[in-house]
């Protein structure tokens, strides 16, 4: 498999890229920090990825970086079978309450720019005969919650966009997978109190790898969140206000 990954130096992206490396995949990494990209590329090569693991700069907040990055990835890999996006920003609601600039930045990173990146990626995959576009949403996007309202809104919009993308590109061989993790213990959630069903990134990565082999367009990871969110969606608004 020839896969390009945005956000693979850390968190779930790191665990997922390692899973692909163990399968002997050919990987190309996109991210902001050149040193970190180099370190992670080496790690993945030593864990079984086909060397060399290429890399190019790409920043979710700078949409002009998307097209050249994907271009370089495709050229280096000699084609694309999968595009994986785990990069995102996170902020609890309390940190955003009086900071519109921060709200705007979060919406831009997690919705607008991620959606634009996916548009470009889907186009490229389609041009090459199809492939898998795997993007990370969140259970926070399933229902609004006070504590992660803005982040949840961005992820809800993203899930909707991905659903549409799958419908639009399905005939051209592009299959979209939207992964909705629950609380995962990574740098992104460092310091937050861990709720029940908090998972390690490796567990989410394993579930995602299984889904990449299958045909589903959206999964919860770990799978228990499917049941939890079904229950949460059925809660009356008044009860949800207390969550």
């Amino acid at each position: 498999m020839r896969a390009v990954a945005l956000g693979a130096t850390r968190g779930i992206g790191r665990a997922l890229a390692r899973g692909l490396a163990e399968r002997g995949a050919q990987l190309f990494l996109l991210g902001r920090d050149a040193d970190e990209l180099a370190r992670s590329a080496r790690d993945l090569e030593l864990r079984g990825a086909r060397p060399p693991v290429g890399r190019a700069p790409c920043d979710l907040l700078d949409r002009t970086s998307f097209a050249p990055a994907l271009e370089r990835a495709e050229a280096a890999l000699g084609g694309l079978d999968a595009v994986i996006v785990t990069a995102a920003r996170f902020a609890p609601q309390a940190a955003l309450e009086d900071d519109l600039e921060a709200v705007e930045q979060l919406l831009r990173a997690d919705f607008t720019h991620t959606a634009l990146f996916c548009e470009l990626a889907a186009r490229r995959l389609a041009a090459g005969g199809g492939g898998r576009l795997c993007v990370f949403g969140s259970v926070a996007g399933d229902r609004a919650r006070r504590s992660v309202a803005i982040y949840g809104a961005a992820k809800a919009g993203l899930a909707h966009h991905l659903e549409g993308l799958d419908l639009r590109y399905r005939e051209r061989g592009v299959r979209v997978l939207c992964v909705k993790p629950g609380f995962v213990r990574t740098d992104m959630t460092e310091g937050l109190p861990a709720p029940p069903f908090a998972a390690e990134p490796e567990r989410v990565a394993r579930a995602t790898l299984r889904a990449l082999d299958g045909r589903r367009t959206a999964i919860y990871a770990p799978g228990i969140w499917r049941l939890v969110m079904q229950a949460v969606r059925r809660l009356p608004r008044r009860m949800r206000a207390r969550l």
Binding site: R42, R47, E190, L192, A194
Partner: protein, 459 residues
Amino acid sequence: MSEARARSGAAADAGAPGRFEEISGWGRTLRVRAEQLHPERLDCMPPGVVLTRGLGRSYGDASLPPRPGDRVVCARRADRLLAFDAERGLLRAEAGLSLAALHQIFLPRGWCAPVSPGTQYVTLGGLVAADAHGKNHHRDGSLGRHVTALRLRTAEGQVLECSAQQEPELFDATLGGMGLTGHMLEVELQLAPVTSPWIWQRTDRIAHLSDLLARLREAGSRWPYTVAWLDCLSSGRAFGRGLLMQGRWAHPDEAPATPPGAGRRVRVPVDAPALAARAIPLAGRVWNGLSFRFAGRQEGVMAPEPFFHPLDGLLDWNRLFGPRGFFQHQCVLPYDTGDRAALGFLEAVRQLPMQPHLVVVKDFGAAGRGLLSFPRPGLTVALDFPCHPSHTRPVVERLNALVLERGGRIYLAKDAFSSADQFRAMEPRWEAFQTLRARWDPKTRIRSALSVRLLGDPA
């Protein structure tokens, strides 16, 4: 800076606060509520970190901060492989890489860790900090002999490479330095080649202690891995009977065609109630009775995991000891005081107000270069006890007195209750260690509950 920005960049490590969680050593006797960070990269250390810890497998307070609320870093997520020379087996990795991950990746490629302690759930940084030893100490020494270089961040924030050639004094003090000489960032070590990913092992039943010690040493001349388990719970003739376990990597023609799969693991889900935990000595007696009576001589192929890490199959087994926890006392009794010293020590153990449920004995080879490294030529004895509100401290004090009489010393990775006086009496090297620390860390920024207790650091 908004938190939205802080959360996804390199700045996250410097800005995001950690979680307050209760942390303890493996024995779960001492617990501290500390602010623990788990960064995925160690290159931007937040301010005020008193200690970098690994997977918390040291038994006592070596991985605990001096005071509740102190900030510590857990390195387990900084686990990237950085370089591997497939010809020579030289590996460089971030200090949080676990031994379990190392074996999972490199055993199929024909390499194993040069030293494997009783658990695989340890980080490279933790192995270096304890200068860990394993069943092959008589032949291959402790981990420090195989570490070729370390990358440290000193307490003053300087990042430097150290090795036998570069900053050799700091290097030596870090091998076995219990994480007190700097924050370990990267470890470079020499892996050992294996003939197959399987172990050829042989277990012998031995009727008496005096035989066992001679047999242990004799086995060491033929086997790379040796260790003995003793039954010290039984009285009379059964006292001191034991199992001598010997192993080596299997030859390709002895090993099964497929590599060993991941062993089945069961997790202890909750703490055992205090009452149940009190049954452990009894359970130990029954277990000893059965295993020492019925285990005959066996020989054959087995997976490396149950051979090196027999207890890892039961995850979180320390919870069986209930809320009080347990402790281990491990010492080395030098050879120059003779076998009688070891026999006398074990005889004296019988007089204690409580008995160890597990006794492990192993002969050590040459000492390493670590300034505060534990192993030295002699016999090491590890005794496991459940904690007891009134017996624990007197028992440790008595054991330490016995060790002192025989010119031995204790393993800091296991220790939780020794007094500073007894420790300093058996470790004249402690002053040199403190002098070196003072050079690199004049404000004693890096410290642990152990360094406060034994080395006199300010809390």
